[in-house]
Amino acid sequence: MKAFAQLFLSLDETNKTNEKVKILKDYFLSVPDTDKMHMLALFSGRKPKRQINATLVRTWAMEMSHIPEWLFAESYQVVGDLAETIALLLPQNDKSSDKTLTEWIAEINDLGTKNDEEKKQWLLDSWAMLDNQERFVFNKLLTSSFRVGVSQSLVIKALADITNHDAATLTHRIMGKWMPEDYTFDQLVQEEGASDDVSRPYPFFLAYPIQETSEKQKSTDELQASLGNAGEWQAEWKWDGIRAQMIKRDGQIFIWSRGEDLATEKFPELHPFLNALPDGTVLDGEILSFSNGLPLPFNILQTRIGRKNLSKKILEESPVAVIAYDCLEYAGEDIRNKTQSERREILEGLQSVTEYPEIFRISSLIKFDSWIELEQERTRSREMVAEGIMLKRKTATYQVGRRRGDWWKWKIDPLSIDAVMIYAQKGHGRRADLYTDYTFAVWDGDKLVPFAKAYSGLTDEEIRKVDNFVKRNTLEKFGPVRTVKPQLVFEIGFEGINRSTRHKSGIALRFPRILRWRTDKPMEEADTIDTLKALLG
């Protein structure tokens, strides 16, 4: 655990990519193979199951540190992270431990069979032998909240450097539903072919935005200059659903979401068409709610994500279908190195013979002869219920991860409205102990009605100023939330707007964020609820 805790700390303390890779390599070279696999599992989001619920962990931590509950809660507000709060509050350790990461995780997994009294004793003993930094990482494992500020691609790069494999192969080999207990380091780095897990998905290819923000509009001339002739590109609508990879191999089907969650059971409507695909087929596409052949806004789909049981009612209200846009494996062969056009042809072939064309849809190509024409088409995005346009180079291979060059997204400009900040709450992580989470309101007559929360969009300098304002202009405190003197006006951007019965304002926004701080606007000039409702269309 010492090595793992040090790894975490060292990665935290540098922003330099080369330095991070070096730290990762040093770690790999210094720990046993089983620790390597546990580390890879954790760094790729495969957390051990939570064996003690968070409330008990908190309660025992409060007991051990002699802190009343309210003070614990306020400490958490200051620190912005539960595992870290506990690590800081516990008394200093009087023992130490040389157990490896593998041993600790095995102990955590064994807790399942123990009663609360045994769990408590184990936890208090464990805390007493871990130092501050070890405890922090340990608490993260224990509460299943392990996240790390280093991209998977850097971990893969370090691994590739020490194993002499190429990064793409390794990226592929650590995908899918393995756990460190059943996948060994030897299997991972063996010479030929990854172990034959039929469920294993391919790494997703992700697009870069062609314009960073809506303020940096790209003209058609600039597109010509950076992308070349329009004829070299294929364009599709950018759908706003759940990105998914669908696999049919050996008579079995698997649906993977972008977060590498196996979501096969969440979308029963897709099973018939997937089962009908030939073995050795992998499709990439977007899952969306559909009604009468038209995609429904994302919030309809949202109502069924996260539900454990899909009731008949939900399936009726939010039926899903797939808009497929790529084919990665055909007749059991990995075809990611074929060109975009070749893969498209194969995809069209598969789709043209499906008996479920309402469910297995294909992302239609937008016809255009010039960038000017495409720019015109882009203005129709909202009526197509799309977020904008995807551009794919006709000769593009299907690559690994987010890369510049062959796939670009060209999103439409967000809708926007000027609103007044009325509540503020402290943030988490690097925004801990700063007021960074705000609630915004618009005018309804002479009253301000809250309609959106937003967390991002301000610079660090602006956050510092707003934080200062909040601290000096608090009207009331409700737990962690402060009511703030209404005064500051912000332009809030969002991707879509829908009616909602759950919100006081009667509307719900998609992806609200702060576009800019309108220091030039007095709060009287903020927008009204009617302006907002007019956007409902």
Binding site: D12, E13, S65, P68, E74, G80, G429, L434
Partner: protein
């Protein structure tokens, strides 16, 4: 008839109506008693100042030509029948708690303080009183400092490592207090200590005051970069990310502050190394200091006043929050710099 309290909290600062003087006022007044020379406590514009002897040169450097009377710790001064005496606060060199006594009532204003002996400031001394006005910048139980020896061992080995790998070491800390504390605890067998002009000006003021500091070299345009890279550079928070700092590339920068104990705050600073080093008392330090005064009432001026006073009340103190303008920066991160000070420092730095 209840007597008027000896000290009251007014729009201009903490005021003693009987003695007709203020303590650390934030508006210009006739008579100001100053706890220490940090800019949120010692402000420009008052007619007469009273402070500790070791603050003299720094105050004159920071506030310009002021009318300043200085005293030793423990020395008694009378103002309109009210007795004033200063006791060490251990915060920075020359920092003082102000003890006010009139008839049978004693008040103590802590200013900022820390309970650990840093080896350079006169160590904190608890003073018995009826009313204690305390800071609580780090008044949350998540703030617990390690002994400074551990910290400086870490810093010295970090410096060694940087020298070995050919990187400059830049240590960032507030120019009065933190900078000298670091300077006195560095292992000078590793290399020389270089200073940013703002810090060196403060060092010079302290040396004029008779304080013996380890040798330093002011960085000027002519200082050879190769030389500097083998040493360690002391820089103020305002220099982070400026071209001045960037010219030392490649460098590692360590940020020294109590806030560095929280991962989020550390990430915000984007420092290569966060050293948890504070000139304020930590949670345990605050509670033990308050307890040692034996006070009947404690007033909390800045920091986590709401939570800390609630906790103190729960464990049996009579604690109150008061609103002041101290610690605008919540302590030590970015102290308010008066426009005058910036102007003075900039012209000085350009001239050299």
């Amino acid at each position: 008839m209840a007597r008027k309290p000896l000290l009251e909290f007014t729009d201009s600062g903490i005021y003693c109506p009987q003695g007709k003087f203020y303590i650390d006022p934030w508006k210009p007044v006739d008579d100001a008693v100053i706890t220490h020379a940090h800019s949120d406590h010692a402000r420009f514009g008052s007619k007469r100042y009273l402070a500790h002897k070791l603050s003299e040169q720094v105050l004159l450097y920071r506030l310009g030509d002021i009318q300043l009377q200085t005293v030793e710790y423990g020395e008694k001064i009378m103002k309109n029948g009210v007795e004033i005496s200063l006791y060490p606060a251990g915060h920075v060199i020359g920092s003082a708690q102000i003890r006010i006594s009139y008839q049978d009532e004693i008040w103590v204003v802590s200013g900022d303080y820390k309970t650990e002996d840093d080896g350079i400031s006169t160590p904190f001394e608890p003073v018995r009183c009826h009313h204690f006005i305390s800071e609580c910048t780090f008044g949350m139980p998540v703030y617990k400092w390690k002994p400074q020896k551990e910290l400086f061992d870490d810093m010295n080995s970090w410096w060694c490592q940087n020298v070995k790998e050919g990187r400059a070491s830049v240590v960032v800390g507030y120019s009065l207090g933190k900078a000298q504390r670091i300077l006195q605890n560095l292992d000078l067998s590793i290399g020389k200590v270089y200073t940013h002009g703002v810090i060196e000006n403060t060092n010079e003021a302290l040396r004029r005051n008779g304080i013996i500091l380890n040798p330093t070299t002011r960085i000027t345009i002519d200082t050879p970069k190769e030389e500097v890279r083998k040493g360690i550079i002391l820089a103020p928070p305002s220099s982070v990310g400026t071209p001045w700092m960037k010219k030392f590339n490649p460098y590692d920068f360590g940020y020294c502050s109590g806030w560095m104990s929280i991962r989020g705050a550390k990430k915000r600073r984007a420092a290569d190394r966060g050293f948890v080093l504070s000139d304020h008392a930590d949670w345990d330090g605050l509670i033990s200091a308050i307890d040692a005064t034996g006070c009947e009432k404690v007033y909390l001026t800045h920091g986590y006043t709401a939570s800390f006073s609630r906790y103190l009340n729960e464990i049996g103190f009579d604690a109150h929050e008061v609103h002041t303008l101290y610690g605008d920066d919540e302590g030590e991160e970015e102290p308010i710099v008066l426009p005058e000070e910036v102007a003075i420092n900039q012209t000085k730095e350009v001239a050299e």
